[in-house]
């Protein structure tokens, strides 16, 4: 009884909607076409609940068209999708970050006078490099031995060739600039005595 009551009520609303639509149809040669479309709309609006009632188990095309995801489920699915997307982005960003940090450390280690390097990289949301912070450990706090001079003619030890912090800084900044195109302002280098 409730089903019948619901159907009759829906039918009433459909009739009201269709009569309103008939009013909106513009006059002219296109009118019959629009009236046909409105007629089809009325037919499908009436047919859909009737077919639902008659054959509940049949997968009808109209039912498929009528399928609407519940608002709660839709939001949940969208939320999960967003979270998954964010996770994927974070993971990808971390991998890239690690690789770039490793690259910068490896390259900086090649600079004469550098003993050990620790790199921290900040990335833009677009994936570009934003800022690089490098902590350089040298063998001596202020003076670093780079190349040991060899004196063939004298057995006395000569003073070693020294490279100051400024030179190391310039070299690392230049290398990073050449490799990643990062301006020197965005490269921060700190020295730590080792």
């Amino acid at each position: 009884m409730n089903v019948l009551y619901g159907m009759v009520r829906n039918l009433l609303v459909i009739i009201i909607i269709s009569s309103f639509l008939e009013l909106l149809v513009p006059e002219g040669r296109i009118k019959p076409f629009v009236r046909l479309a409105v007629g089809l709309f009325i037919l499908i609006a009436i047919l859909s609940p009737t077919l639902n009632l008659l054959s509940k188990n049949q997968d009808l095309k109209v039912n498929l068209w009528d399928y609407q995801m519940e608002e709660g489920i839709k939001q949940e699915v969208q939320e999960k999708g967003k979270n998954l997307n964010q996770q994927m982005m974070d993971t990808g960003e971390n991998i890239i970050k690690d690789k770039i940090q490793g690259q910068i450390s490896a390259v900086s280690n090649l600079v004469p006078g550098v003993h050990d390097v620790e790199t921290q990289v900040q990335m833009e949301p677009s994936g570009d490099l934003k800022k690089v912070k490098i902590t350089v450990r040298t063998t001596q706090p202020d003076r670093v031995n780079t190349v040991q001079g060899i004196n063939v003619f004298s057995s006395t030890e000569e003073p070693i060739i020294e490279v100051d912090q400024k030179q190391i800084k310039n070299k690392i900044t230049q290398v990073i600039n050449n490799l990643y195109g990062l301006p020197s302002n965005d490269v921060e280098i700190e020295f730590e005595g080792g």
Partner: protein
């Protein structure tokens, strides 16, 4: 009273059109187009309220809004086609007006086609054998 504004505007445009048609027919067509667009923009807000009421009614009746969207699209195509055809007829270009009507009819048929196919397939599935 918006109808007073529309009527006033329409009367003014008609007088201007009567004068312009004698002197500069091209300008008359342009004025007619501008008036059509103006009326369309003025009525846009009202149309939006009608559509929202229709949407609510459709939701209450348990009809998928997809069908309603299709019908509204068809109505939009019909109105635009009619507007363009009338403007072309006013300019004395009957052939162009016919082509616009033809295009509108085809677009409406294409939009209505999925609903028709869905009805037919459902009915065929229901029939035994």
């Amino acid at each position: 009273m918006e109808i007073a504004q529309v009527v006033g505007l329409a009367l003014m445009v008609t007088i201007f059109l009567l004068i312009l048609r004698q002197e500069k027919p091209v300008m008359a067509v342009l004025l007619s187009m501008v008036f059509s667009i103006l009326i369309f923009i003025l009525m846009m807000g009202k149309m939006a309220s009608i559509i929202s009421v229709m949407q609510e009614l459709t939701r209450r009746a348990g009809i998928n809004f997809f069908f309603m969207t299709t019908i509204l699209k068809i109505l939009g195509v019909a109105y635009l086609g009619e507007f363009a055809a009338v403007i072309c007829q006013d300019a004395g270009e009957q052939a162009v007006a016919k082509k616009v009507e033809f295009a509108s009819k085809i677009i409406i048929a294409v939009l209505a086609l999925p609903i028709m196919v869905a009805i037919l397939e459902s009915l065929l599935e229901l029939m035994p054998g």
